[in-house]
């Protein structure tokens, strides 16, 4: 019986190991290819460990396409988006949870029904709006449509609602204003939820693709995913170089994931990623 258990366990670990290997293999292959010479990348049979590690592909990618610029743009877009979204979300979630006014819950219920509207349905009008406001081909166009998220407000509002009202009233008795209560009491309590929202938002911003190919035209304003796609058309297909580009796009999010896996996974299990 004991022996059977052991065999079972070994089998379990083997299957999971193989599965895990398949899941991360594309990442492994991406990085390995990016460190090979062109000749070695296209060799049959393929080598799984480069004969000589070279970084020329990265140098080449940075030289031929403005990847540094793309990277900066992505960082600017992601950070601005996260900060503005958090600001809007915190204020709105507070107004819809702790403040009392007639019709509050009805208005919010109406907003929640809008959550199921797919973003793809809105792009036609949003594109028109951006063009009419003269924001076509600007970094701002990549940010403002996304800073008012009903979904994140919904999550944070739920958290705020779970904080007892007595806390709010006792702060008021102590002479704290709404503004002070929000930033000095409520926000610190909600930190785990806020971190999760910020992380999910940052991932969604960083990877956003369809919207950026619609509203961005000039090279200097591309973010990384779009820049990488344009790069495939500009350099021709040289996979060792393309994999270097892909690695540049993917690495920041992988690092984020490695350091904040628990928060991200909790956030996803609570209601999912946008998309």
């Amino acid at each position: 019986m004991k022996r059977q258990e052991q065999i079972k366990r070994i089998l379990l670990y083997t299957i999971l190991g193989v599965g895990a290997f398949i899941m991360i293999f594309p990442f492994f292959w991406m990085i390995i290819t990016s460190l090979k010479t062109g000749a070695e990348a296209n060799s049959v049979p393929p080598t799984f460990i480069p004969k000589k590690l070279i970084f020329e592909n990265y140098v080449y990618a940075f030289k031929v396409a403005p990847f540094a610029k793309y990277f900066m743009n992505s960082v600017i877009v992601t950070i601005s988006c996260v900060i503005l979204t958090m600001f809007n979300t915190i204020l709105a979630a507070f107004a819809f949870s702790k403040m009392k006014f007639p019709g509050r819950d009805w208005i919010f219920a109406g907003l929640i029904t809008m959550m199921m509207v797919p973003f793809e349905m809105l792009i036609i009008t949003n594109y028109t709006t951006i063009v009419k406001w003269g924001l076509y081909d600007t970094i701002i166009a990549l940010i403002i449509p996304f800073v008012s998220s009903i979904f994140y407000t919904y999550i944070l509002r739920n958290f705020f609602l779970s904080v007892p009202d007595s806390l709010y009233y006792s702060a008021k008795v102590d002479g704290a204003s709404d503004w002070q209560f929000l930033w000095q009491v409520l926000v610190p309590i909600a930190k785990p939820s806020l971190v999760t929202i910020a992380l999910l938002n940052a991932i969604a911003c960083w990877n956003s693709f369809l919207w950026s190919i619609l509203v961005i035209n000039s090279q200097g304003k591309r973010t990384l995913p779009f820049g990488l796609f344009a790069f495939t058309n500009e350099t021709g297909i040289r996979y060792e170089v393309l994999m270097a580009g892909a690695t540049i796009v993917v690495i920041p999010m992988i690092l984020l994931f490695l350091f904040c896996r628990k928060s991200i996974v909790t956030g996803v299990s609570r209601g999912g990623l946008k998309g």
């Binding site: 204020l91 509207v117 349905m121 036609i124 009008t125 990877n207 896996r261 996803v268």
Partner: protein, 303 residues
């Protein structure tokens, strides 16, 4: 100024609304401009024939755009392609995820390591990772064909032969859908009362029986929920498709999906009315799924 008293004798004046309105102002402006207005406007545009944005002119108002898409063979095939993709990807990823989640739930060690590996695809850009898959599927030097050659199989022209394009898209789709599905199933599994398993063990039940008679029925609500959420997201397939085939819907324009059709009409043909009609069809499909989702959740609420 208007004054009004509630049942609890709280006085309501305009001031009652002023503060919350101020606090939620930035959010509400964004929601109205970029969600609520475009939502209703999409319906409006879908009825405008030959609508041009720049001049804001249109030749007629009616159902012509809907008639157009429903009689366009490309649109009809895009619906079929999308449905095929949804059925394959959602089913396969659900079955695989269920097995992986159950196994993950039962290993005492290396949880963190396995989770990291299985969940990684979730955070990575589809533009970048789509490119990696393109490399793996490459006809001459791709790793997949090399593995095939080890078994003596002929190389397959995965990405340039229309017969294989759906398979490529599905493989990529399943791979990227697994993390989300596993996470939700895993959290569902962790909510199952361990007493059921203890009781089953006492009765000497086999692993397979435990799986089919305890795990699957108790996990049914989660499975239903994940299936529907995944169906909705699979219906909107675009990024991966666009990248895999270098901006084309398949090597011979054979793999149009609903969103790709929308994108083409909107961005390439500048037929906003037709694109909007397509968006409305998509919305109705998603509505149907959401209603279904609510039914599923209600039905299983007693767990």
């Amino acid at each position: 100024m208007f004054r009004y008293k509630t049942k609890n004798d709280e006085v309501i004046t305009l001031k009652t609304f002023l503060k919350p309105a101020l606090y939620s102002l930035p959010f509400m402006i964004g929601v109205i401009v970029f969600t609520i207005y475009p939502f209703f406007n999409a319906f409006l545009i879908s009825f405008k024939e030959d609508y041009r944005v720049m001049t804001d002119k249109f030749s007629g108002f009616g159902l012509a755009n809907y008639v157009h898409i429903l009689s366009d063979p490309t649109f009809i095939s895009s619906i079929w392609n999308t449905i095929t993709y949804v059925l394959i990807v959602v089913t396969v990823s659900l079955v695989l995820s269920l097995l992986i989640a159950v196994m993950l739930n039962s290993v005492p060690k290396f949880q963190a390591l396995f989770q990291t590996a299985f969940f990684m695809p979730m955070v990575t850009s589809s533009a970048a990772i789509g490119l990696v898959w393109r490399w793996l599927f490459n006809y001459d030097y791709g790793l997949i064909n090399w593995v095939f050659s080890l078994f003596g199989a002929d190389a397959i022209n995965w990405l340039n032969h229309p017969d294989y394009s759906m398979i490529c898209l599905c493989i990529y789709g399943i791979w990227s859908m697994l993390p989300f599905t596993i996470i939700l199933l895993l959290s569902g599994l962790q909510n199952i009362d361990p007493q059921y398993y203890t009781a089953a063990k006492v009765d000497g039940a086999k692993t397979v029986d435990i799986f089919t008679n305890i795990t699957v029925p108790l996990l049914a609500p989660t499975i239903g929920l994940v299936a529907i959420v995944n169906m909705i997201s699979a219906f909107k397939v675009f990024d991966g498709l666009y990248i895999l085939f270098g901006g084309k819907p398949g090597p011979a324009y054979n793999l149009y999906t609903v969103i790709f059709y929308l994108y083409d009409q909107f961005y390439k043909e500048l037929e906003l009315g037709i694109a909007a009609a397509c968006a409305i069809v998509l919305f109705l499909i998603i509505c149907a799924f959401t209603v279904l989702q609510n039914q599923v959740q209600k039905k299983y609420d007693y767990y």
